[in-house]
Amino acid sequence: MLASLFLIGAALATPGMTVQQASQAIVDESGGGLTEAVNRMVGGIISYVGWPGRRAGDSLTLCQVGTPRLASSLAPDIPGDRPLSLRKTSAGAVIANGGCDILYLGRLSSADRMRLVQWVRARPVLTITDDDPACLYGAMFCLAHREAGLSFSVNLDAIARGPLRVDPRVLQIGRSVS
C-alpha cells in the first residue's frame, strides 16, 4: 500500500523535481589520489548502511554499471574488512538477474539510469553515483569532485523510499553542512 503510493508519487514527479535533501561532506584528497579517496568514501558509506536480513559481517555484492567518472578502478575500502565482491555489469543484466546489494552508477545513458532508479525503489539496494554532482536523478549517495576535495550528497528521499537503514550520523554530516 505504502509502496504503491510511493510508486504513484514517483511516477508523477519528473526526475529533476524529486524532493532532495542534499548533503555534503568534504574528504581530503591525500597521497593516493582521487581513486583512493573515492574508494575510501564508498567504503565508508557502505559501512554505515544496513541491509535488512543481513548481518554486519556478511558478504556484499557491488555491481558497477557504466564507467566510473572519478575512479579509474573501483575497490571500496570498507573499515573492518567486510568481504565485498565486485561485478561489472549492465543495466539490463541488473534488472533481469538482480543479485546486487550495491549499484555503483558511472557514466550512463539517462534512460538506463532512469530504469535502474525505478527498479531499485523498495528493493534493498544501495545506489551510489559519481556522475550526478547535484544529486538530481534519484541515486541515494552522489559523489562530487569539487575544488575543496571529494564530497558526497545524500538524497534522503531516495533513502526513505527503500528498506535500507542508514546510520543517521552519516546523514547528519551532510545535513549540517548544507
Binding site: D28, S47, G80
Partner: protein, 399 residues
C-alpha cells in the same frame, strides 16, 4: 625539694602534653588517610569522566573519521565542549594526522592540580567494525576538581578543628578524673604528716588502681593510728608509773617534791599560806610482821583512801615513803585549820580495817604540821618542821 634535680612538672601538664601529642598524631593520621582516599576516589571519578567524554566523542566523530571530514569532526566533538573539565580535544586519523582540535577558552584555574590528576591526555582509539580508524585525545583540566578540592579541604579543616577541640575536652576530663583522686590521696598524706591527723582516711575512689593505693594508705594509717594510740597510752602509763605509787595509786615522792616546789612558788607569788602535813603510820612494822605483807599492803591502801576522802579538792596527798604520807592543804588561814585537818585525818584512819583472814586491824597515825611561810620558805625546811612535829605527836601518843 632538691635544687639539683631538674624542674618538676605536674601530672596534669604531663598528661595534657601527652594527650595533645596523641591527639595531633591521630588526627593527622586519619586526616592524611581520608585525604589520600579522597584523592584516589577523586582521581577515579575524574578519569571516568574523561573516559565517558572520550567515548561520547568517539561515537560522534566516527563518521567524520571514516570520511576524513574536519568540519564533521568539529561538529562531532561539539557536545564535548560543553562538558566542564576538558581543556583540549584532539582528533587524529588512522595515520596519526591531526583532523581537528579544540582548546578550551577558559584558562586552567589550577595547573598544579591538573598536573597531578591529568599528567597526560586520555587517548581512546576510535573503531569502525573492529578496525582502528583514528584516535580521540582528551586533556582534562582542574575546573571541576577545584570546587571539590576546596570543599574537601574546608571540610577537612573543620573536622580537624572539631576533632581537636573534642579530644582536648575529653583529655581535660580524663586528666581531671585522674588528677583529682591523686590530689585527694596527696592531701590526706599531707594532712597526716603535717597535722598528725591519723584519723584522716582516703575516700573510696573511682579508679581501681588508685582505689587500691588509697586502700593501702588507709591500712597504713590504721596501723599508724594504732601505734600512735598504743604509744600514747604507753607514754601515759609510764608517766603515771613514774609519778605514782603503784600500791595506793597515790603520787610518789618525786611527784610530791615537784608538787611542793610548785605550791611554794604559787603561794609565794600570791602571798598566801598552805599547810604541809606529815603522816606516819604508828606501829606499821609490827602490823606488817604480825599479819603479813599482804595485810600491810591492804592497810596502806585503806589508809590512802581514807586520807584522800578527808581532803578537799585542791589538796594534794602523796605516799612519800613505806608508811609515810604527806598532804599539802591549800589554802589555810591559820594553824588551827591545819591542826583541825590533822585531827580529822587521825579520826578518819582510826576505823578498823578488815583483813583477808577475817581479823580487824585498827590503824593509827601520827600527823605533823608545818605552815608555809611561817615554818619555812623551802620544801626541806617545811618537811623538817612537819617531821619533827609528827615525832612530837607520836611520842605523845605513845605516852
Amino acid at each position: 625539694m632538691s635544687d639539683r634535680k631538674p624542674p618538676r612538672t605536674t601530672l596534669q601538664k604531663l598528661l595534657s602534653r601527652f594527650h595533645f601529642g596523641v591527639t595531633l598524631f591521630a588526627v593527622a593520621l586519619s586526616g592524611l588517610a581520608i585525604m589520600l582516599a579522597g584523592v584516589a576516589a577523586l582521581r577515579g571519578y575524574a578519569d571516568r569522566n574523561i573516559e565517558l567524554a572520550a567515548q561520547l566523542g568517539a561515537y560522534g566523530v566516527e563518521p567524520a573519521l571514516v570520511f576524513r571530514d574536519p568540519q564533521a569532526a568539529r561538529e562531532g566533538i561539539e557536545p564535548l565542549t560543553h562538558i566542564p573539565g576538558i581543556a583540549q580535544l584532539r582528533i587524529l586519523d588512522d595515520r596519526g594526522a591531526l583532523l581537528t582540535e579544540w582548546v578550551s577558552p577558559q584558562p586552567d584555574p589550577a595547573p598544579l592540580l591538573t598536573r597531578i590528576f591529568f599528567p597526560e591526555p586520555f587517548a581512546l582509539p576510535v573503531r569502525r567494525n573492529g578496525s582502528r580508524i583514528g584516535t580521540i585525545e582528551i586533556s582534562g583540566d582542574s575546573s571541576t576538581l577545584l570546587d571539590y578540592v576546596r570543599i574537601g579541604l574546608l571540610a577537612g579543616l573543620i573536622c580537624l578543628i572539631v576533632t581537636g577541640l573534642g579530644t582536648v575536652a575529653l583529655a581535660r576530663r580524663f586528666e581531671y578524673e585522674l588528677v583529682k583522686p591523686l590530689g585527694e590521696i596527696a592531701s590526706v598524706a599531707h594532712d597526716v604528716r603535717l597535722h598528725r591527723r591519723f584519723d584522716k582516711r582516703v575516700q573510696s575512689l573511682g579508679i581501681a588502681e588508685l582505689d587500691r593505693l588509697g586502700g593501702d594508705i588507709n591500712a597504713l594509717l590504721d596501723e599508724l593510728q594504732g601505734w600512735q594510740g598504743h604509744m600514747e597510752s604507753e607514754h601515759a602509763m609510764l608517766a603515771h608509773r613514774a609519778s605514782h605509787d603503784m600500791l595506793t595509786a597515790m603520787p610518789n615522792r618525786a611527784a610530791f617534791d615537784e608538787q611542793l616546789a610548785a605550791r611554794i612558788e604559787g603561794a609565794a607569788t600570791r602571798r598566801s599560806r598552805f599547810a604541809l602535813l606529815f603522816i606516819d603510820v604508828d606501829n606499821f612494822k609490827a602490823a606488817n610482821d604480825g599479819f603479813g605483807h599482804a595485810a600491810g599492803d591492804a592497810v596502806l591502801v585503806a589508809l590512802a583512801a581514807r586520807i584522800r576522802a578527808v581532803l578537799r579538792r585542791a589538796d594534794f596527798a602523796a605516799r612519800i615513803g613505806g608508811d609515810e604520807f604527806a598532804v599539802i592543804a591549800e589554802p589555810v588561814d591559820a594553824r588551827a585549820d591545819a591542826e583541825e585537818l590533822a585531827l580529822r585525818i587521825c579520826n578518819a584512819v582510826a576505823e578498823p580495817v578488815a583483813l583477808t583472814d577475817g581479823e580487824d586491824y585498827r590503824p593509827a597515825v601520827s600527823v605533823g604540821v608545818a605552815i608555809y611561810p611561817d615554818d619555812g620558805g623551802d620544801g626541806t625546811a617545811l618537811l623538817t618542821v612537819a617531821d619533827s612535829d609528827m615525832y612530837a605527836h607520836k611520842l605523845s601518843n605513845r605516852n
